[in-house]
Structures are given as C-alpha cells and as structure tokens.
C-alpha cells in the first residue's frame, strides 16, 4: 500500500526559518536520517522537498491555451514544503512515519508537531475477492 505524506508548513510571505545554527543542523540531520531509515527498511518510494513559496507561480491556460502566470499569494495560505511516498504494509505504519516526521526538531530542539497529511495513493483495479 502506498501513501503520500504531505508536510504543509510553509506560509506565504515567510522566508527561510531563522533558527540558531545548532537547531537548523539538528533539523537537517533528522530529515536525512529519517530518509535513510525509510530506505533501509525498504519502504521509501520517493521523498522530495520543495522550494520556498516565493518561487511558486500560479499558472492557468489563457487564450489559445498559452500559460498565464501569476505571482503569489494570499497571506494566510499554507504551502506544501515537501512530501514522502512510502510503500508500507498497513495504514498504521504510514501514520507512525507521519508522527515521526511531525516531531522533527525545531527551535531549541523541541518537536515541531507539524500537521502531516496522509493519503492513500490510488492503485489499479481491485481483485475480484470472490
């Protein structure tokens, strides 16, 4: 079963986190360690971090289908900061990974308790299950 774990933590108008060096390093090391662990367990399909919201553009098709881009964004909007796709045996395991991500260390090493959105990834047709 594949799940996507989405970390929606960025806010428009907020730049890079201004944490002390030691806290930043702890956070980065945590994320690298987590990805390594997921890979070693044979569960990691894909993990990506996204650029900050000031790089984001909203694109719509204009006349003739040409792209019309628009800068950003309403102040309160939350942005996807990164995501993981994992292949695990049951939903509980996906939730356990999400809880681990959520508790990534922030300023002062305190857990951030970020909300992580977990959703199943759609698959092919089901079996007949007679």
């Amino acid at each position: 079963m594949k799940y996507i774990l989405m970390m929606n933590t960025m806010k428009a108008g907020h730049g890079v986190p201004e944490w002390p060096k030691k806290d930043l390093q702890a956070h980065i090391a945590f994320m690298i360690g987590l990805n390594k662990e997921l890979h070693e367990r044979g569960e990691l399909v894909l993990a990506e971090g996204l650029s900050f919201p000031d790089q984001a553009k909203l694109v719509r098709a204009g006349k003739n289908g040409l792209p019309v881009t628009d800068g950003v964004f309403p102040e309160s909007k939350e942005f996807l900061a990164g995501f993981w796709i994992v292949d695990v045996d049951n939903p509980e395991r996906a939730y356990a990974i999400a809880a681990k991500v959520s508790a990534a260390p922030g300023p002062g090493g305190a857990p951030l308790n970020m909300p992580i959105e977990v959703r199943p990834i759609m698959s092919g047709p089901p079996t007949e299950m007679l």
């Binding site: 079963m1 594949k2 890979h39 070693e40 367990r41 044979g42 569960e43 990691l44 399909v45 894909l46 292949d87 045996d89 199943p120 990834i121 759609m122 698959s123 092919g124 047709p125 089901p126 079996t127 007949e128 299950m129 007679l130």
Partner: protein, 425 residues
C-alpha cells in the same frame, strides 16, 4: 557445446534458480549470501546466454558461477580478518568441487518456498523474497512490478533475509506436522502474488512484469511437489479459473467490465478446462478448503454460457460452505450478493445489515458498492446513487472509482420508468 537461446530459455533459467540456490546454500551453509551469489549468477546468465548460447549443463554452470562468488566473498572476508596478523592461507578455504548431479535435490524448491514464506516475515517481504529466491527474478524486475525504486526493493529483500537468519530457520524440509501448519502461509503468499498481478494487468501497468503468470508458475511447481495436497491444487485451479476471464475484464478505455457484461467469447477455454479438471481431482481428495471452494465458485461462473445461465443456487450453497470453512466479512458480503440473486435483493440487503457493525468492513467501500448494487436491483435508485457515490469516494482503485461514479451517473440519467439495466460489480 551450447544450445541457442529461445523463447523457452527464460523459463528454464527461472526453473533452475531455486535448485541452484538449494545446492549452493547446502554447500556453504549460508542462505543469505548464497541467495545474493545466485542472483549474480542469474544476472550473468541473462546477459551471456542469449549471446553465447545455453551451456550444455546450465545448472552446473550456474552453480559454478554462484560458488565462485561465494568463494571470492569468503576469501576477502578471511583476508580482511587476517591481514594484520598472518598471510591468508588460501589452502584453508574450502573451495568445493562442483558435482551438479549429486547436488540435485528435488525438494530444494519446496524448502525454499517454506523458508521465503516464513511467518516471521511481513507479507510484502515474503512476496519479494519468494519472487527472487524461488522465482529467479531480478531485483529490478520485482521493483518494477511493485513500482518502487530498485534500491528500496533490494533493502526489502535484504531485511527479509536478515529476519530469516535471526529466526534461525534451518535449511531443510519442515517436518510433516510443521509443513501442514505452515502450508497455508505459503499458499497465501502465492495467492497475494497472483492478486497483485491480476489487479495490475491494465493500461499503464501493462509494462509491469506479469505477476499473475509468475504466481501460476510457482503454484504449479508447488502442486507438482505436493500432488496430494488438495489446497495447493485448489489454489492453482482458482488462479486458472480467474485468469481465464482476464481479457474480458477491462474495456478499451480501461474501464472495468462486470462479469455479467463481459464478452464470454474472450474467456480462455483452455484455462477453464484445466482449472475444472484440477478442481475435480482436488475435490476427490477429501477435506475441502478455502481455495477449492473459491475455485468451485469461479468454475460455476465460468461454466455459464450467458450471465443469465449462472447457477446462483449452487454459488449460494458454496458461499454457505465457505462461511463455515473460512468466515470473514468479505465472504459474508459475497454471500449476500449470491443470496440476493437467488432470493431477491431484499434478502441480500437484510444480510448486509449484519456487516454495518463489523469494524473490519463498516467503512470499506465494498460494503457501499454491494449495497448500491442491491438497492438498484430493488429499484431504490435514489439510495443506490448515494451508495455508489460513497463507495466511489472510499475506494483506492482508480478504475473502480471510475466505474462506481459512472454507475451513479447512469442511474441519475436513467430514462424514467421501469429500469432493468443492472450489473454485478
């Protein structure tokens, strides 16, 4: 002397994989390393044989290549250990001579199946390890079949082997009592591989390795090794009788086609007759199990020339037996469909109410899908639409979601007046 590589050669190579692994494991007494060495020998064969031809003794060739890898590994391990103290004494390292014929043990494949489907493993690890060690597939092929990166699959396999090592399973055939106890786990892994393949056999997934065929090949092998086991035979029959409908299940736009709307001319007659023959033989052996009963139900469907000829009373009787042999919410659900087909939709709907409080199924899309179908049969279209849509919202299968949304739309747009256009999902 070599033989040219042809269409059957890959099959031959895969059949040899567990035999070679058995021989190398027994010789070196290290399953985990032997498995890696055999994988390398398999990859070497897949690269060399198509160009250079198949060696006269392919099994001996594979054992020799794998043994050489094992010896190299041992040498470097010993060298590492002795580097600082003394010169590595190669003479002490046993380099076994290759005698392929005396190494031959027909039970190796069976031993490996029991080992790879060990209860210490999660089903995803057991599946991956079985496909590699018994099926002779490469890590890349397995990774591609499950749409995960190759390195992730390699880790999964390596962890599975660590678990087997940690649980201390000896490399020998389990005792008859142990075998009887563990056989259901082996059959279940083969069944899961088949389902994975059957479920993914459409559209974008067509590029994927044919896991359903691989599962049938392994089950056939299992059945040949345990010809007296009625459930192993029953499982192969179930696979054949289900796979027979494969070509008719999916329409040109990748839409799911329910059984009563399938073009039965597309059903594979050869698979159906083999399945029925196997099933008949299995049923004559006595104790009737879960796979034989499911195969029997598949056979009743396959034998009907038209959907309306389906012998639903017989299917209902088989589900009643199945409820006793292997009770579970999915069986209850399918039993309710059969009851509806025999006694009318209200009987089926009545049976479904028992499942509303079953935590394993209460929020499962399939309960909504079946209820929608039975409500439609009962003529309660408004409620049917509602349940088709809540099933569509819950399934994690895209073709199923498309199917269920389309069912709801069809009912919304139905010509007013009596409507008899119904389908079994």
């Amino acid at each position: 002397m070599t033989k040219p590589w042809d269409a059957t050669s890959e099959h031959l190579l895969r059949e040899l994989a567990p035999q070679v692994l058995g021989a190398v494991t027994r010789r070196f007494r290290d399953f985990a390393s032997a498995e890696d060495a055999v994988q390398e020998a398999m990859i070497a064969a897949f690269t060399q044989w198509p160009e250079e031809g198949i060696p006269e003794n392919p099994r001996g060739w594979l054992i020799q290549v794998a043994s050489r890898r094992m010896t190299d590994q041992l040498r470097s391990a010993i060298a590492r250990r002795e580097r600082e103290t003394t010169v590595a004494r190669e003479a002490e390292i046993m380099v076994p001579t290759v005698d392929p014929e005396s190494d031959m043990d027909p039970d190796d494949t069976l031993i490996l199946l029991f080992m790879c489907c060990h209860p210490a493993l999660t089903s995803s690890s057991a599946i991956a390890l079985t496909l590699r060690a018994v099926g002779g597939l490469t890590t890349a092929e397995i990774a591609n079949a499950f749409l995960v990166p190759e390195s992730t699959m390699a880790q999964r396999i390596s962890r599975a082997k660590q678990n087997i090592k940690a649980s201390g399973v000896p490399f020998r055939l389990p005792s008859p009592e142990e075998r009887a106890e563990r056989l259901p786990a082996v059959l279940h892994v083969l069944y899961l591989i088949f389902n994975e393949g059957y479920a993914s056999s459409i559209g974008a997934h067509l590029q994927r390795l044919d896991l359903a065929r691989e599962a049938m090949r392994l089950t056939r092998c299992m059945k040949n090794l345990l010809p007296e086991d009625a459930e192993a035979v029953g499982l192969l029959a179930l696979m054949l009788l289900t796979d027979a409908r494969r070509a008719a299940r999916i329409g040109p736009n990748e839409e799911l086609i329910p059984m009563d709307k399938q073009d039965r001319a597309l059903w594979d007659r050869a698979e159906i007759s083999e399945g029925i023959e196997l099933l008949t033989a299995a049923l004559s052996k006595g104790a009737v199990g879960l796979y034989q009963l499911q195969a029997a139900i598949a056979a009743v469907h396959d034998e009907a020339a038209r959907a309306e000829d389906t012998d639903w009373p017989q299917i209902l009787a088989l589900y009643e037996l199945l409820k006793r042999v292997s009770p579970g919410p999915m069986v209850t659900l399918n039993h309710a469909i059969a009851a509806a087909m025999v006694h009318g939709p209200s009987k089926g709907l009545e049976l479904l109410t028992a499942l509303d409080t079953d935590s394993r199924l209460a929020s499962h899309y399939r309960l909504d899908a079946v209820r929608a179908h039975l409500l439609e049969l009962a003529g309660d279209y408004e409620k049917a639409i509602k349940h088709y849509r809540s099933a569509a919202a819950r399934t994690t299968s895209i073709p199923e979601r498309n199917y269920l949304m389309t069912q709801a739309a069809r009912l919304e747009e139905r010509p007013r007046g009596p409507d008899r256009n119904t389908t079994v999902p």
